[in-house]
């Protein structure tokens, strides 16, 4: 199991946590006048160091307050599923790493 695989999965987990905070703010401020709802997404960026993913913050266009609450709830659900999948992946990789280490010992 490469270090890169762990780095990628852990980056995804951190992104999901970051997004959860942004969506929590959208939910809490759904009825706040003049609040500009936001969301974050991943965008591939190519630079001198190669390709990496940047977290892009963008405005959300949703009819408020009901539309925004629905958007935030749906996005929160999607984010939770993504986080769960990545957590499963991380657990599977750790399990595999442990199995390989055990086999190497015997």
């Amino acid at each position: 199991m490469s270090e890169l695989a762990f780095t990628c999965v852990e980056s995804g987990l951190r992104f999901a946590q970051q997004r959860a905070s942004v969506l929590a703010a959208d939910t809490a401020n759904a009825r706040t006048p003049d609040f500009q709802p936001k969301d974050v997404s991943l965008a591939p960026v190519r630079d001198a160091g190669g390709m990496h993913f940047a977290t892009m913050l963008h405005a959300v266009q949703a009819a408020r307050p009901v539309g925004l609450l629905e958007y935030a709830m749906a996005a929160q659900g999607q984010n939770a599923v993504r986080y769960h999948a990545l957590a499963d992946q991380e657990r599977a990789m750790l399990h595999e790493l442990r199995t390989v280490a055990d086999e190497a010992r015997h």
């Binding site: 951190r14 992104f15 946590q17 929590a24 401020n29 006048p33 307050p65 986080y83």
Partner: protein, 150 residues
């Protein structure tokens, strides 16, 4: 990070609770024609605003190295665009002196139907914040499960 979501959702729940308290008071006083100030009761509502104090507190808690928050392994976030997610707080409680068209003309300006609709809306917002809190809790439980394996 998920702790941000806890604090933000908690601020949303507190704000909606205040709103529900005011609606309860409005409904209870639907027929109050004389208050301590002498006039009839006027419905009250909470004006919400993003909680700047919370964001400042968070920034202070993170210390001067706030930028570290913006960069995660393999992910970069444009610091110019980033604003710390903010919670919500009650900015003011305002009294609506203008009578609602559905309110009884000779009594207060409280329209029970309008108040019930507002109560449902506040309850829905409160539920949404609870869902956010539960999602954050689930994420933290998964993270702690992973840390046990590591």
């Amino acid at each position: 990070m998920a702790s941000d979501a806890y604090a933000i959702a908690a601020s949303g729940m507190a704000a909606q609770q205040t709103q529900m308290d005011l609606i309860a008071a409005n409904l209870a006083n639907v027929s109050t024609i004389r208050t301590a100030s002498g006039g009839p009761y006027h419905p009250r509502t909470a004006v919400l605003q993003t909680s700047g104090a919370f964001a400042d507190e968070l920034q202070a808690a993170q210390g001067s190295g706030g930028d570290d928050l913006l960069i995660t392994a393999g992910l970069t976030l444009d610091a110019d665009d980033w604003q710390q997610p903010q919670g919500v707080e009650v900015a003011a409680i305002v009294e609506d002196a203008a009578s609602s068209p559905n309110a009884t003309r000779n009594e207060t300006g409280v329209d029970p139907i309008e108040q019930m609709v507002a109560l449902v809306a506040a309850g829905r917002s409160y539920d949404a914040n609870v869902a956010v809190l539960q999602a954050a809790k689930q994420m933290d439980m998964e993270a702690s499960d992973i840390s046990r394996l590591a």
